[in-house]
Symmetry: C2
C-alpha cells in the first residue's frame, strides 16, 4: 500500500502531481529519491489534477503540509497544462517541473510545438498498442505454467526453468509492460529423467529463454509454499537446478539467473538479449 497513512517519522513530504495517472512523476521521483538513502520520505500521489480548481485545492494542501512539517515539501510535477501548472508552482515547495524543463529544449530542437495536453503515451486506450497489451496479458495468463500448448506458435517468448524460478511474474511483466506474448513452461524432474525438454518445445526452440536461480534461494522460496517438503529441500533444489542448467546448456538455450534480479531487471535483460539477437540476424 502507498505509505500515505504511515505514522512513522519522515524528513520530507513528497507530492507526485499529474494531470494523468502520475505514474511518470512517481517512477521518476522514486528513482531520484533512491539516491538519498539516509532520508525518509512520506509520499503522496495526486493524480488527475486536470482543472484549475483542483490545482488550487492542491496548492492549499501542499502549503498546509509544509507548515505542518515546518519544511517545504518536494513536488514532482508532470503537469502539462500551463494554466494549472502556474497555479500549483506557486506553492511554497521545491517544485521539480519535469515536463517544462525538457519540453522547451525539445520544441526548439524538433522545430515543433508540443500539444500541452495530457501525456497518455502507452496508456492510450483503443489504440492497437493498447489492445496488444491486453491480448498479451490474456495470452500469458492462459499460457502460464505450461497450462496450454495451443497458442505457442503465437508466443513472442517462452520462458523455461524449474518451479519457482521466477517464470510467472516475469511473463506477466513482459506482457503488461512490453506487450509481449510470454508463455512459460516448467522443467520438471520427469524431463530431467528423460534427458529431454518437454517435446512440444522443440518446435519453438528459438523462442525459449531460461531462468535459473541459486539453490539456497530456491529452497527458501519453496519452503514458504510447502514447508519441510522434499520439493523444498536444499538437496532437491540443488539437484533440480543443476539438471536444469545442464539441460539448457546442452540444448543451447539462452538463460540468466533470477537470484539477485528484480522482475524489471530480468525483463530488461531478456529484451536486451532478444534485441541483440535480432540485430545480429539483420546483418
Amino acid at each position: 500500500m502507498p505509505d500515505q497513512l504511515s505514522t512513522e517519522p519522515y524528513d520530507r513530504t513528497v507530492f507526485y502531481v499529474s494531470d494523468g495517472t502520475g505514474i511518470t512523476a512517481e517512477t521518476f521521483g522514486q528513482s531520484l529519491l533512491a539516491q538519498f538513502e539516509t532520508m525518509k520520505f512520506r509520499q503522496i500521489r495526486m493524480p488527475f489534477i486536470d482543472s484549475v480548481i483542483k490545482g488550487r485545492e492542491l496548492l492549499a494542501r501542499i502549503d498546509m503540509q509544509g507548515r505542518k512539517d515546518e519544511r517545504p515539501p518536494i513536488v514532482f510535477s508532470t503537469l502539462v497544462n500551463t494554466e494549472i501548472n502556474n497555479v500549483v508552482r506557486q506553492a511554497n515547495a521545491v517544485f521539480l517541473d519535469l515536463f517544462a524543463t525538457f519540453v522547451e529544449p525539445l520544441e526548439k530542437e524538433l522545430g515543433a510545438q508540443s500539444t500541452h495536453s495530457m501525456g497518455r503515451s502507452h496508456t492510450a486506450t483503443n489504440s492497437p498498442q493498447y489492445d496488444r497489451r491486453i491480448a498479451a496479458i490474456n495470452f500469458s495468463l492462459a499460457h502460464d505454467d505450461g497450462q496450454a500448448d495451443r497458442g505457442l506458435p503465437e508466443a513472442d517468448i517462452i520462458l523455461v526453468g524449474v518451479s519457482r524460478s521466477g517464470k510467472t511474474p516475469t511473463s506477466l511483466y513482459l506482457a503488461m509492460q512490453h506487450g509481449l506474448k510470454a508463455a512459460n513452461c516448467p522443467l520438471i524432474p520427469e524431463d530431467f529423467e528423460r534427458g529431454r525438454l518437454p517435446e512440444v518445445l522443440y518446435r519453438f526452440k528459438h523462442k525459449l529463454f531460461g531462468l535459473t536461480i541459486a539453490p539456497d534461494r530456491l529452497s527458501e522460496v519453496r519452503n514458504e509454499r510447502r514447508p519441510g517438503s522434499k520439493y523444498a529441500s536444499l538437496e532437491n533444489c540443488r539437484a533440480e537446478v543443476m539438471q536444469a542448467e545442464d539441460m539448457m546448456r546442452r540444448e543451447g538455450i539462452r538463460w540468466l539467473s533470477s537470484t539477485h534480479k528484480s522482475i524489471e531487471e530480468i525483463a530488461a535483460t531478456i529484451l536486451q538479449q532478444i534485441d541483440i539477437a535480432n540485430q545480429q540476424a539483420q546483418r
Copy 2:
C-alpha cells in the same frame, strides 16, 4: 515488441540510456514525446550501461546513428555515475540528463549528498517491499476470477464486475505495480437472478470495488472471445451491465467505468478513491 527493427520512416532516433533497467528513462521519455503527436520516433533501449567501456561503445553508436539519420538523436539519460555520464554526453545529440538536472537542486535543498549509485527504487530485490510485490502477484493469480475464497481475508481489494469488464488485468497491475493483494470475482447472471452478491463477498464488503463497461464495448470484447454467442450479444451485454450496475448501486459498492480508461488509469482511480476513504476514516 520494441520497435527497434521497424523499417518505417521516422523523424528522429531516440535512445533511452541507463545504468539500470532504463524503465525510468523510457517511461519519462515516452510521456514527453507523446507531446509531439505529429512526429515519428524510432526508439532504442540501452539498459545496463554500467562501465566506461560500455559508455564509449554507446557514444560511438549514438554518433553513428546521427550520421545515418543526418539529424542528432535524442538521448534520455538516467545515468547516475558521473564518469560514465561524462562520456556519453559528449555524443552529438540532444542530451536530456534527467538525473543531473534535478539531483543538484535536491542535494542543495536536502543538505545531503546523493549516492550517485544506480537508482533501484522499487526494483530492489530482497527487500520487504519486493517480497510483498511477488506475494501480491501470486495472490492475485490464485484469486483471479473467483477461483478461490481462501485468501479473501488477506485481500487488500476485491474487484467485482461482469465477465470481461477489465477485472483481471487491473488486479494483476495493482499487484505488480503497487504490491496490492487484489482478488477479483465475477458477477454472473445467477447472481442477478438471486438479486444478491456471491454470498462469500458480504463479509468483505468494505474491500469491494466495482468495474463496469459500456454494453457495446463489452459486446465487442466478448465477440473476440466467443463470436456470435448469446454471451457476446449486445442485448445480453446490455442486460448484464444494467443488472450489475443496479446491484452495485443497491449494495453501496464504489465503482467506475473501464470503457475509456487504460489499466493504469483504472488503477490510479481506484487507489485515489481508497486514499480518500482512508483519509476520511482517519478524521
